[in-house]
């Protein structure tokens, strides 16, 4: 038999390790949205997103850029009078939309996250220069120029190493990762 999960429960289910109160507890008081430093860049305020989730407006939520605009500063989380871990809910929404392969066109967030993961899986370390190509073009030629200027500045100051680091126990590290997500068999 199959159980029809509410969108609310689906999101709750992708918040596996977090220990906040359920989203259902939301009072719609707006403390989160009043606090959020990135709210101007969101198409819905965090409170509205919670409202949409509870009301089951899945498409509207997934089409929103709100959770991709979250900087994970956790200011909403510590202030929420209902004890909901809102920042982690935003993570959950990111996971959900990547998992379902449904997110707004032209967002850098998903691309960035996924290339970040690839990189770490391949080396065990993160390495800023490698990240650049994955997003620069998204900022258009003008962004490219800016980026180039910044980057050369950093180069000259010797703050951008030329070679990515790798951890020694990479094979075993990847076996560890394999036990959680499929990353293909060792070559």
């Amino acid at each position: 038999m199959s159980i029809e999960l509410s969108f609310n429960d689906e999101i709750a289910n992708v918040m596996y390790a977090t220990h906040g109160n359920p989203i259902k507890d939301c009072l719609q008081c707006g403390t989160c949205s009043g606090t959020c430093p990135a709210v101007e860049f969101m198409d819905h305020t965090p409170r509205v997103i919670i409202g949409l989730i509870s009301a089951g407006y899945k498409d509207e939520v997934l089409a929103s850029n709100t959770f991709w605009s979250c900087a994970s500063c956790y200011h909403c989380t510590v202030r929420c009078p209902a004890g909901i871990d809102i920042a982690d809910m935003m993570y959950a929404l990111k996971r959900y939309s990547i998992w379902k392969g449904r997110h707004q066109e032209g967002l850098i967030g998903p691309v960035f996250s996924e290339s970040f993961v690839k990189m770490i899986v391949n080396s065990g370390r993160s390495f800023e220069p490698l990240l650049a190509p994955t997003y620069i073009f998204k900022n258009g030629p003008q962004g490219l120029v800016q980026e180039a200027q910044t980057a050369t500045g950093l180069m000259l100051k010797g703050r951008l190493p030329l070679l990515p680091k790798k951890i020694k126990g990479l094979k075993k590290f990847q076996n560890m990762v394999r036990r959680i997500i499929p990353i293909g068999e060792p070559s």
């Binding site: 008081c29 707006g30 949205s33 009043g34 009078p81 004890g83």
Partner: protein, 667 residues
């Protein structure tokens, strides 16, 4: 088996009969529990009807029943009914037991067979238990006619006056130098906006002059012994250093006193008083007190200005006065110790204590008060500038898991009142930032409408933060209130001159200790637990101790007054009875078995168990004992037995419920 037991099974219409084979159960009891003394098993449509009761009475008389089991609804509903029926028929009421086959069987189970089986087991348990019941007599206690009222706020004042006017003596104890409580600090009261002092002062004066009221201010209860009808309270009367027999309250002493002190209690830190002072002009009693921490004489032995200028003969200032210990007898006690204001500094993002023009509700009340530190002028911290714009923040410390989960109830109306006063007196723009506006009582919603029409702005959203960091020119030199206007889904930054934090109310910081002192319990939020949340809101689990006002939970003036009167009515009822009878469900100690280990002494929350040095055994005061039975379970010597809930009864019931009584047990 000498006992004769009658078993009565109720159909309760179809409520029980619908899911339980009532007839079958009754017959089963008569047949399979015969060897346990069941002589008759009957079923009837409605046992609680007069006919049903007569059925029982008839059998008691004609069959000479010595025990009765009624299987019907919950004992909380009809235990009294059937016990009185038995009493009418000459059987001791405590030899009748009820077992619930409605709330706990027919209503909660669907499977008829299972429900019927369970009913049998439940009845069998009752039968085994009732066999060990003993005839009991209710305990009768004489009631001392005096009453102790603790707390001189509006609730305590009301209670004291009601009882005193009825002609009985009251001792009213107040911690502060004057009665009046929080209400004395307010200027206007919602929703009628009548002046707080104008309606409170007459009542305070009545208390002061009432022949039936002994007023002990600047005093605290430190010990309570005894029990309902006969409490003995020990009260510390703190030294006033003023002789109240000669003092006329003329006020010269505090005029002359050179030492200014910031008044953090009455003026909420906004104004000053002297080292010798009465909190406010209409104080009752009018005698001042000397605040030893700040008095120059007590600090370095010089000054004595108050004494030098005191005009009375003999001089009323007495620096050698000592605290006194008084003992007060009382039949009943009313606790009306009120509330503390939520400490707004606990929410740093609201800036209270850091940003000067953020005020608490109590500060604002004082500011509005014509007799207050600003003579009723609404001004910024500089005491001169009138604000052009004000934000009132609702739910400060309330409805918030990080502070208090509950709604403080009064803040919405208080905030609306503030909004009105600000607009009326300054013409400033006023913004109320709220989560929900709660105006449930008479004329409250109408007041909300009025404020709306007066042009008050309402923003639905809990304020996120208050800052002085300007980003735009118009924000320069202002307080910026950052909040989501949830009705338009936008984050707004509102620049204003003044912010008022409508702080919630909390249980007194020492509520727990005080509760222990009087032997009553606090709920999860720290308010005292009433006997029943709906049907018995002013009584407590401890007989003879009543609660009124905010000690029981957040409430406004009208409700506090109502509760004060209600508590008084309950007390008067007890006094009128003269003698009251208590449920005889008590623990008692068998001295011959008591080893004097004293384990039980510490366990009793009502201090009902005392150790008798001479006999080296413990003994229980039946009037203090509430019958919880913890000591019974704890006694390693099995020397304590609980009437009504004895080991024998419970063990027998266990065996009965498990139907171990069916195969005859070897003698």
């Amino acid at each position: 088996m000498s006992e004769k037991i009658g078993v009565y099974v109720c159909h309760c219409g179809t409520n029980i009969a619908g899911t339980v084979d009532v007839k079958g159960v009754a017959e089963w009891a008569a047949e399979h529990l015969k060897h346990r003394g069941v002589v008759i098993g009957r079923e009837y449509k409605f046992m609680c009807s007069s006919l049903g009761q007569e059925l029982v009475e008839k059998d008691i008389k004609e069959l000479g029943l010595t025990r009765v089991i009624v299987a019907a609804c919950s004992p909380h509903l009809h235990e009294k009914t059937f016990r009185t029926a038995c009493e009418r028929a000459g059987l001791n009421p405590y030899l009748c037991e009820m077992v619930s086959i409605r709330e706990q069987v027919s209503w909660v189970h669907a499977d008829k067979a299972a429900a019927t089986e369970k009913s049998k087991a439940v009845i069998s348990g009752g039968v085994e238990r009732v066999l060990h019941n003993e005839p009991l007599e209710p305990i009768r206690v004489p009631i001392h006619a005096d009453t102790l009222v603790v707390g001189g706020g509006i609730a305590g004042i009301q209670a004291a006056l009601e009882i005193a006017d009825a002609g009985y003596h009251v001792c009213l104890v107040e911690r502060e130098p004057s009665i009046g409580g929080h209400m004395a600090q307010f200027d206007k009261t919602f929703p009628t906006l009548d002046c707080s002092a104008c309606i409170l002062t007459p009542k305070m004066v009545d208390v002061g002059n009432h022949p039936n009221i002994t007023l002990l201010t600047w005093s605290e209860v430190v010990k309570v012994d005894g029990f309902v009808g006969n409490f003995k309270a020990t009260i510390r009367k703190k030294a006033r250093y003023v002789n109240t027999d000669t003092c006329t309250g003329c006020g010269i002493c505090w005029e002359k006193c050179p030492k200014k002190v910031v008044d953090n209690v009455y003026e909420a830190g906004l104004g000053n008083r002297k080292a010798i002072y009465t909190p406010f002009a209409q104080a009752v009693p009018r005698y001042p007190v000397i605040d030893v921490e700040n008095c120059t004489y007590f600090k370095n032995g010089k000054c004595k200005a108050c004494q030098i200028f005191c005009p009375t003969e003999p001089n009323s200032i007495n620096f050698d006065q000592k605290d006194e210990m008084l003992e007060v007898q009382a039949g009943n006690i009313i606790l009306a110790t009120g509330y503390d204001l939520f400490d707004a500094t606990r929410i740093p993002q609201y800036g209270y204590g850091k940003l000067p023009n953020v005020f608490t509700s109590l500060e604002f009340e004082r500011m509005c008060n014509a007799a207050g530190p600003t003579e009723g002028k609404i001004v910024l911290r500089d005491k001169t500038t009138t604000p052009k714009s004000v934000v009132i923040v609702h739910c400060v410390g309330s409805r918030d898991e990080n502070y208090n989960k509950y709604c403080s109830g009064i803040c919405c109306m208080q905030s609306l009142k503030f909004a009105h006063l600000v607009m009326e007196r300054t013409g400033a723009e006023v913004y109320n930032c709220y989560i929900d506006i709660r105006t449930p009582f008479k004329d409250y919603e109408e007041f909300y409408k009025r404020v709306l029409e007066e042009g008050g702005h309402f923003i639905r959203g809990k304020v996120a933060e208050v800052t002085d960091a300007a980003r735009l020119p118009e924000e320069e030199g202002k307080l910026i209130v950052q909040v989501e206007d949830t009705l338009i889904g936008k984050q707004r930054r509102i620049p204003v001159d003044m912010v008022i934090l409508s702080a919630g109310i909390e249980p007194r910081h020492d509520a727990k200790e005080v509760g222990k002192l009087f032997g009553i319990a606090c709920g999860a939020s720290g308010w005292y637990t009433e006997k029943h949340p709906k049907l018995d809101p002013v009584a407590t689990m401890t007989e003879g101790i009543y609660i009124a006002g905010c000690v029981q939970g957040p409430k406004d003036i009208p409700v506090s007054v109502a509760q004060g009167a209600a508590a008084a009515a309950r007390v008067l009822g007890k006094i009128q009875q003269g003698v009251i009878s208590l449920e005889p469900i008590k623990a008692s100690i068998n001295e011959t078995q008591c080893s004097g280990c004293r384990i039980c002494n510490g366990l009793c929350p009502f201090n009902a168990i005392a150790f008798i040095e001479d006999d080296k055994v413990s003994s229980i005061n039946p009037a203090l004992c509430q019958g919880c039975g913890t000591c019974v379970a704890a006694c390693p010597a099995g020397a304590i037995s609980g009437t009504g809930f004895s080991d024998a009864q419970i063990i027998a019931q266990i065996d009965g419920l498990l139907l171990r009584n069916l195969e005859p047990v070897e003698a």
